[in-house]
Each structure stands twice: as structure tokens, then as C-alpha cells.
Amino acid sequence: MAALATVAVVVAAAIVWLTTRGSAAAAPYEDPASIGTLTLCDAAGKPVISGSTSAAPFVARVVSSTAAAGPYAVAGRTATLFAHQPREGADPAEWSGQQLTAAARYTDPAHPMAQATVKDVALADFLAAFPPRWHGSVQLRLALAAPDAPPSGHYASLDLKVDGRHWQVVGTPGTASCTTGDATSTETLLDPSVTSATRP
């Protein structure tokens, strides 16, 4: 009986650990330009660490653990989600990539935030153009920009592993809250009929 209870506790702990810490395995690379990590959020504003590659948009919202600084913390600041394809032997600066969301204006410079809309694509769209080339790895980057400032050369990032039609965060996911502030996609600002992927 005691052994059964011990097993139950261990399993429960493992489940908690997996849903809050992502996969134990780390990505097979390091990116010196990465300065923080990301929280992925579903339409209900809850953190997610795995999902289907065919779900569109990929996720509803992405929140950075690292504050925008200097010229990127001003009014009009934006955050944009990119996916990149790690390639063994190539510098991370040379990894090919693609936008997954348009730029979003966000309210809390302590936690830059990209906001998807119902028109944004699934991860599968990126994978069709750039299939994983290194142990299933995909790197997400949150690019910061501001009016009259070039895109920042540094970014918060998060590593995924893709297996078939499933993706899973590897390493340590972000701890920023999905509801720390708000964000509005340029797609919505220009056309209010394009609704946010986050449910109000």
C-alpha cells in the first residue's frame, strides 16, 4: 500500500513537473543572441507547452520573460513572433525563419507580448517551408521593434521539438503570466474584423 502511494506521488510530481517545466531534454544548441524565454498561451489565456502542428493560429499569445529596454520600450513598441529552423553546423544568426504573427502593440514593456489573430498560420505552415533539420528542433523568437529603431538583434526565445504532428517545448518554458498586460495585432488595428485569437 505504501509502495503504491509512493508511486502515485512520484507520478503526480512527474505530471506537475512536465506541465510546468517542459521536456527535460534541452535543445541541442545554444543561441548567444537569446536573452530570455517565452510563455506560450492558449485562447483561454492559459500556458501551454505542447500542441498540434496543424492548430491555427499556432498559439494565441506569446509573452516574454525579458523586459523591453532602451529604444524598444517606447510608445509604438511592437513584438513579433518568428519561427526559425536550427541547422547543425550553422550559426543561429544564419538559421532560416518565418513570421508566425504580425507585429503587436503591447501594454507592458516588462513583458513584451505577441498576439495572434484568427488569420495567422499554424506551425505546419512554417514546417512545410522549413522542415526540422536537427533532432526535430524549432526555435521561436520574439522580435522587438519600435518606430525609427531597427529590429533588436537580441530576442527572448523558446525551443520546441516536433514529432510528426505534435510539438512540445523542450528545456525551460517561460514563467511570465499570459495575462500580464494586453496586446493588439496590427492585423486587428488595420481591420477590426480580424479578431484576436485570445478569447475576451
Binding site: 541547422r87 488569420k119 495567422d120 505552415d125 517551408a129 522549413f130 519600435a146 488595420l190 481591420d191
Partner: protein, 389 residues
Amino acid sequence: MSKRRTAAGTALVGVLVAGALAASQHSALADGAPQPKDVVGVGSDIMQNSVNFLADGHGADLGYNAAGNKYRIFSFDATGDANGRKPFTDPALGTPTQLNGTVTLRAGTSPVQRPNGGSAGLTALINDGKNGVSANKISFARSPNLPTAAQQTAAQQNLGSALHSVQIATDIDYIATATTTNAPANLTGDDLVKIYTGQYTTWGQIPGYAGPAPSATIKPLIPQNGAGMRTVFLNALKQFNGGAAVNPTAATEVQQNDPTSITSLPDAEKPNAIVPFPKGRFTLLDGGYFLNPNAPYSVAAPADPLTTTGIQLHTGAGAWSTTFAYYVIFRQADFDSNEVWQPGGTLNWVQTLFYNPGATPWVKSAPGQALLQSAGVTPAYVDRGNDVQ
């Protein structure tokens, strides 16, 4: 010499050669000209901002090149001036005359005449090869008009490929006048045919004219030769001319889509001037995108934005207007190509950027279409294949 010393010497030469090559590559990059696999566009003035936004973004809204991919889009402006103005000779040398601008299409090549306008861009694309072999210095043309049948034939002969067109946006052409004008608010297509062909030379000749200056001489302005917007305008007037081509003998040529074509006129001519003007450029001007080019660059004292002050569009009921398409035109062979564009990818450059049935090329993506909207036009994604005018 021992094998070891020979090998060491060979290695040293290799290092020196590699270093020299690396240095030469840095030199080639210094002028910012496109490298061989970069995608190069030329042509239409009215489309240049839209495609620039797609390539490089607008303000804090990021374009395709922001992904940091190895190969990039270079979409060269029509005149070499980012505000769309035509270059002139130095006034100190006498009466200024218009210059043909130039452009370096690929790193290391000599500057060539810069295609100023959609028609000129399409012609340059068609001439980017001979005897069926493409030079591939130009990847695509921006044009508000599809190729003609004759241009398709010439493309096949010169490039060994038909041309393929994709409509990426829609814009509307209106008549612009000075804010204070003698022109009626609802000039019709029939009126315009008679004005541009010299049958109406004064406002009072227009049936029903009730304006303040019936005897004033009308000053019709038209985009320069080679401008796709000139073709759009004249083609749209054909239906009011019994289907026949309109020869605008009464018109004065001006740089297209530029408010100063009216605001720089003498005061006596300003209220009598009319010019076709696209809504997209007008919207972009009103949005503060263009800055006063007479103010030197300064972060501390930024230049004031240009505006549409001094001109107006006649958009009321009954006034002439025509919708027109923004086409990106490329070689059919480039769409059919199996040559992957970006490292690690699966798509060629056409599939990545402009046309990919069943997938989402950049121009069809929600972020790409938002950039087109921010340029003041209505996004579209319509494959026109090998269609002709």
C-alpha cells in the same frame, strides 16, 4: 621540400586565398547591392511603397527581410528617390533637365538605367536575357498592367520563359486638383477624353459647368512615358472614346503620383490643373510616411512629414475613377523551378514570396497583407497565370 612542408605551404596559400575572398566579399557587400540569390524587383512607382513594406516593413511592423534570412528582397524604387521624385541636373549648370536615374542590379555590376515605372520595369525584365537565356539580374517587375501578348512573345524569345503575374493588391485612381480649383467636382470620363485630347481647352466648354472661371485654360497633367499609371489612365479612358486609344496631345508630362506636380505650378495655373492620382499614395502621404526632404536628417530635430496639403482627390458621385491592380510579374520558369531559395528550406523564391497554390506565400500571409493595408491599398491574392492585357 617535404610532403609536410608542401602541405603546410598549400594550407597557407589556401588560408590567404580564403582571406582574400572573404575580404572581396565584404567589399562587394559594402555598396548594399543584391547578391546572386537575392530577389530583385524593379518598376512601378505607385507600387514601390507597398512592395518596400512587404520587404522591409513599415515603422515597427516587420517585413520579410526582418527574419534575417540569408537571401533577401531588394525592390528598387522607380526613380532612385524614396519620395518618388525624378532626378534633375544641377541648376548651377544651366536650366535643369531630367536625368535618367541608374541602379546597380547586382553586386559588382555596372549601374544601368533605372526602370522608372511599371511599363519600364516590365520591359527591363523582358530584356534581362537574350536568345532564351536569362541573365537573372531582375527577378520580378512591379506593374499596374499585365503584360501584352507581344511582351509575352518577347519574354519567351529573350528569357526562354513566359511571364507569370499575381495580383497582390487593388488601388483606385481619381482625379486630383489643387485644393482651390476651378475644376468641377464631377469630371466624367467623357470630359477627360475631350480635355486630354484638346477638344476642351477651357472649363466653360464642359457641359453644365457652373464654376467660377469658364474662360480659364485647363492644364491637364499626365504621368511620364514609361509610367504604368499613364497606361492605367489611358486604358481606362478608352471606353469613353469608342474603344479607341486616347492620344493625350494636350497634356503636360509630370512625375507620377507626386503632389508637387500641382503645388509647384505658378499660381495662375494651379487652380486649373488636373492629374490622375492614386488613392494609395494619397493615403500614405496623409499618414505621415514621407518626410520633408529639404530638412537634413537629425534625430534631435526630425523633419516634418509631407502631407497632401494643397491637393484634393475628386471622389464624389459621378466623378471619374478607375480601380487598378498591383501585379508582381516574374518568369514562369522561376515558379516552376526546383531550386530551393533559403538554406534548409523546401520552396523556391516565388513560392516563398508571391505565389504558392495551397500554401501561404508571404504576400498572402496575414502579416504580409497587413503591411499592404498600411500602404493604403486593399490586399489581394489573385493568380493571373500567363494572362495578357
